[in-house]
Structure formats: C-alpha cells, structure tokens
C-alpha cells in the first residue's frame, strides 16, 4: 500500500473493510460520524451493506442481526450512543455473537463536550452492560494503530464469539498522520468457526475443547435459537444450575485462555527505569514526549508502558514491568479509571495519578511534573 495522509476515523473504517467487515449500521454522533460516512461510501462498492438506523440501540441490534446472518458487522459511536447500546451489547455477550463496537470517546458525562476528547468510558467498556461478563477493549494511540487494532478487534470478535470494543478518543479519531498501511493478508484474517457436524447434531452454545462453539449463519441449513435468556447448549432457555454454571464459567474461560494473545502493549526503556509511566490512546503520545523531556532535561531513568489492550487488564505485564520501579505514573483523560487497575496490581502507594476530565489532553509537562514530584 502507498504512503498516505489519513484520518484516524478513516483508518478505522479501512481496517474494518480490509479484515472483511461487510455490514455497518450506525447513527451519527460527533466525533465518530466520519466512520459511518466512509462506510456508507465504501461498503456498497464491495457489495456490503450500510444502513443508518434510527438510533444507536437499533444500530447495535442491526449489527447483531447481520452477524447472525453471517456478515462481519460493526458500529461506531461516542459516549451517549455507547450508553444507549449497553443492553444489546449484553445480548451479544450472552448470545455469543461476534461484532465490533467503536467508541470514539468524547468528554462526558451526558452530552458533555461533543468535540473534545476524553478517555472517560474505559470502565464502562468493562462493566457497561448489566450482569457478570468478560470484556475486550483495545485502545489505539495513532492512526496506524487505529487500522491495526480494528483488524485485531474483528479477529478477536470472530475467534471468541463476542462483542469487542475499540476505544478511540477524539484526538486519535480526528487527527491526520502519515501512514504506510500494509495489506491485510488472508492468513491474517480470523473467521468464525463453522460447524463440521450435520445440523441435527449442531450445538450452537456447546462446550467444545476450544471453549468457543462454532457459529453457523442463519439460512445455510443450521436452524437454531438465539436468545438473551440464559440457555443450554442448544440455545434453549434454562434455569438448571447444571447448565447455567458451566456456561458462565465457559464465558469467562474462553477469554482468559486467550489473554496472552489479546493483551498487546509497547514498552520503552522499562528495563532499568525508576519511574514508569503507564498510558494509552492519545495520552500515550504525551507520555512519549514526557519521556524524552525527562531523559534529556533531567537525565532520569524512566520507562513507558503503552497499553494497547485495556480489557482484559494486562495484570501480569503491568506487575512485571512495575516490579522494580519506585513510582508508577498513570496518565489518562479521566479521573483514574485505568489507574484503579494499576493500583490494584502494584499497590496504591506506588501509583501517582495524572488525570483530567475537562476535555483537554494530558500534557507532557503534567506527566513530567508527576514523574519528578517528591
């Protein structure tokens, strides 16, 4: 592929198309609308389907319906829309339907600051829908990562049969960067597993060794029932403990088993660091600059851990990386959502939070000050 100047939202859309997304249903909302607009133009070119639904609830419902029909499907929104989608996200979790939900985060709560960035929906991506459930959320910090992590999001969704969140922030979504996108090769594309048994034997919610049952599309000869009620291996509602308990365990286990593959990060100078900065999304870029300043101006031994996967939280990586440091600075555009997780893993006394929820980016100076604070 050629070098181009690309907007983050556009890179996300292109990543989706490259990995095989052929359905988008969405609703306009700043700062994500570009994704819908680009999909509306590109999908019919590829014989795919785009529809602007009447609201975000209908959008995620249509995405799930299309995925059940066999298409890789996606929607994109921001905070208020993400809140609306939670109920149907839970449906996708329980019915184990692959799909990707992009949240280009803006300052909240409520209408908030529609054109200003935040990272305020991180905990919501973990626990937004009611009930106990696992979650996968990826956070790109550059335009090129917006492409790559959208591809990864689809692959995880298809492999593990669940909704996957791509948490961009308004900065990454709207910025333009020079990128040299690489073709997504067929061997890099993960598709949901098809059943290999005849329809009479098919268990759409069974217990295979992989913990992820194959998912046949509707209309191909496999007829089954999809419901949000807790169900047995065949998809039929049940309240039997001996069916529900294994199902709940499998729902979590299927993600836990792939933890190493799902957790992506980047580390810089962490081997001998005394101070570690943990950041993600556009804040990671401020953190990189802060690192340069700290090393050049103050000669500090500082390290940076950029999280590309927020959920499941990469506990082991954080624990190992922070083991020998004196201080962990967690910088984010919220008042301490990932910081809570870091504190849980490394101990509160070691962690200093740099957070803001006012629609402004965390600046390099803020991070440097935190690294240097007594």
């Amino acid at each position: 592929m050629t070098v181009q100047l690309l907007q983050g939202n556009r890179a996300c859309a292109l990543g989706a198309l490259a990995v095989g997304c052929r359905f988008f249903a969405g609703y306009p909302i700043t700062p994500s609308s570009e994704i819908a607009e680009i999909m509306s133009r590109e999908l019919p070119r590829l014989g795919g389907k785009f529809i602007q639904m009447e609201d975000e609830i209908a959008s995620i419902a249509a995405v799930i319906g299309a995925s059940v029909g066999g298409l890789k499907a996606m929607t994109a929104t921001s905070g208020p829309g993400f809140s609306l989608m939670q109920e149907n996200i839970g449906y996708a979790v329980v019915a184990e339907i692959p799909c990707v939900i992009v949240n280009v985060m803006r300052a909240g709560p409520s209408t908030g600051l529609p054109t200003s960035p935040s990272q305020g929906d991180v905990m919501q991506a973990r626990w937004g829908t009611h009930g106990d459930h696992p979650s996968i959320a990826l956070a790109p910090s550059s335009v090129s990562e917006a492409f790559d992590l959208t591809v990864a999001a689809f692959n995880f969704a298809e492999k593990l049969r669940m909704p996957v969140f791509l948490l961009m922030d308004e900065v990454v979504g709207h910025m333009r960067e020079r990128v040299d996108l690489v073709e997504v090769e067929p061997q890099d594309i993960v598709n949901r597993e098809m059943p290999t048994v005849p329809p009479e034997w098919y268990e759409p919610f069974g217990n295979p060794p992989s913990d992820v049952p194959p998912l046949a599309p509707f209309g191909e000869g496999y007829r089954f029932h999809v419901t949000g009620l807790l169900h047995d291996a065949r998809g039929f509602p049940t309240s039997r403990l001996d069916e529900i308990q294994p199902w709940v365990e499998r729902l979590f286990r299927k993600v836990e088993r792939s933890q190493d593959e799902i957790c992506m990060w980047e580390a810089d100078g962490v081997e001998d660091a005394r101070v570690l900065v943990v950041a993600y999304g556009s804040t990671a870029r401020s953190a990189r600059q802060a690192l340069k300043i700290a090393r050049a101006r103050y000669g500090r031994k500082v390290g940076l851990l950029i999280l590309k996967t927020l959920w499941p939280f990469p506990e082991q990586i954080v624990a190992e990386t922070a083991e020998n440091v004196q201080r962990v600075v967690v910088a984010e555009m919220n008042l301490g959502q990932i910081a809570l997780e870091v504190e849980r893993v490394v101990g509160r006394s070691k962690v200093l939070r740099v957070g803001r929820a006012d629609g402004q980016i965390v600046t390099p100076d803020q991070i440097v000050d935190a690294m240097r604070a007594p």
């Binding site: 249903a25 019919p44 014989g47 209908a58 249509a62 995925s67 499907a73 149907n88 029932h225 949000g228």
Partner: protein, 288 residues
C-alpha cells in the same frame, strides 16, 4: 388421509421444547398456528424462514418453531430483523411482538421499519396489556380499563396500531382476531407473501391479567367479546364513524405496491459497484 395440521406439526421443535408456557386458553397459540399454516401453504423452506421476537408472552413463540429463530431484547426485534434481512435478503423474516413490545419501547423501530418498507412481516399480537409481567397498562389499553398500574382506571388513549403503520409507510396493513382464525390465516399468508413491510394486528386477549381485572375472566368470554366487538371493513365503510367507537375493524386496510428497502439498496450497490448478480429470490406460490 393426512390431517391438515399434521403438516404444521412438522414445523415445531416438539421433541425439544414442549410443553409450552402459555396459559390454557391464550390466543398466542392461534397466531402461531396461523403462522405455521401460512408457511406450509406458501411452501417455504424452513431454512429460508426466520422468526424473530421481542420480550413478553408473544416473545416466547419463536423457540417452539423449527426455523431460524431469535428471541431478542424488549422492543428491538424489528431492528435485529433489519440487520438479518440486509445480510440475508432472500430469507422470509417474520417478526412477532406483543402490543407493548412493538408500540411502547419498540415504537420507534416500528415506525422506521414501516417507513423503510423493508420486506418483513410484523405480527403484533394485541392483548391490550403487559401480560408476562402481571397485567400492567400498555399503549393499547382502552380508556378506563383497570390494570395493575392503573388501579383507579387507565386514563390514556390507546394507539391505533394499523393507522400508525399506514401513516408511517407500511405497504400492507391488516387486522383480524384470534376468534376469526380463517381470516387471520389468510391475512398472515398475504403478509408473508407481500414484498414490503407487512403488518398484521392480531387482536387477542389475556384472560389471566386483563380479563380478571376487567370482568372477562374466561377465554370464552374474551372470544365472545372479539366476535361481537369486531366488524368487517366492508361493513364498517357503510356505517357512521361514531357508531364504530370501540369496534375492531377487520380486513386488509392497505395493500399497495411501494418501493421496498432492500431492492432500493441493491440499486445503491449497483451505483457504487456496477452491475451485480441479482440475488436469488425464492419463487413464492402464485407470485414471482
């Protein structure tokens, strides 16, 4: 000689899910029968049929049927169905909803599906109440009825489901009752055959909740009510508007040829992509 209903028995997940959960005397089973007899008469392949529902007693229908079935979230069935239809336009999609599911929480999706005139069948089983949760008011509960959330009398006007559907753009709109089964069968079959958004309002009753609170405690009393309170459209046309107060008008209220959404989107794909292979469209009996 094979009994007529033996054929439809084949469409049930009878060895997996029965006995069903509905009260003895409920009208939902009759609507389910109309649906199955229509599928049978239209000679549809089971793999080509999807039945999608929302939440409520009507929402419990799809699990009993050996088709591609989805039991979705409250009020959102039409939105799920829209996604499935776009992914699988050749499938016959039948969406079954109660009056609360379709017109309260689902009201927005109802009018937009009608606006798009997207090819699917929406069967709204209207029992004027929220039965599953114990008899609370619904958007079609009549004025002055007693319900679990209107113990002093319901003081809201009901939605006219069919008029709403027509105003929103549905190309086929019809109404019957679970007493008038032969007529209901015909309307459901026409609705499925229709290439467009087809609404069938199936007037029913919930003797268990609404009935007990409003002096119609038995299924028989409710059937008698449906019989006596309803009037055919042809007869209604000859009467004065005010004498139709409280009457259920039965028949096909609209059947027009209007542009259908997935057909129009195929044109969009042609504009963007160039000529495409026409999608395989099943031949329906008596209709190409």
């Amino acid at each position: 000689m094979k009994r007529h209903d033996q054929g439809t028995y084949e469409y049930l997940r009878h060895h997996k899910k029965f006995p069903h959960l509905w009260c003895a005397g409920c009208g939902i089973g009759i609507v389910m029968g109309s649906l199955l007899r229509s599928v049978q008469n239209l000679e549809l392949e089971q793999d080509d049929v999807a039945v999608i529902s929302g939440i409520g007693c009507t929402g419990r229908m799809p699990v009993y049927l050996d088709f591609n079935t989805m039991h979705t979230t409250h009020g959102r069935a039409l939105a799920f169905a829209t996604g499935l239809k776009l992914a699988r336009p050749e499938m016959e999609i039948i969406v079954v909803m109660g009056d609360g599911d379709a017109l309260a929480i689902g009201g927005n999706h109802f009018i937009h599906a009608a606006r798009r005139n997207i090819d699917m069948t929406a069967i709204v089983v209207n029992n004027n109440i929220y039965g599953m949760t114990g008899g609370q008011s619904s958007p079609t509960t009549p004025l002055e009825a007693t319900t679990a959330t209107a113990p002093y009398g319901h003081v809201e006007q009901p939605f006219p489901i069919c008029e709403l559907a027509m105003a929103a753009g549905a190309s086929y709109v019809a109404r019957s009752t679970v007493y008038h089964v032969t007529e209901l069968d015909k309307l459901v079959e026409q609705a499925i055959r229709k290439n467009g958004f087809a609404v069938v309002e199936a007037m029913s009753y919930c003797h268990t909740t609404f009935g007990r609170a409003n002096n119609r405690r038995t299924p028989a009393e409710n059937m008698r009510f449906l019989k006596e309170a309803s009037i055919t459209q042809r007869a209604a046309e000859k009467q004065e508007a005010d004498s139709l107060e409280g009457k259920i008008v039965r028949g096909v209220l609209r059947d027009e040829e209007l542009p259908e959404f997935t057909d129009l989107y195929d044109q969009v794909i042609e504009r963007a992509h160039g000529p495409i292979t026409p999608r395989k469209r099943r031949v329906r009996r008596g209709w190409v």
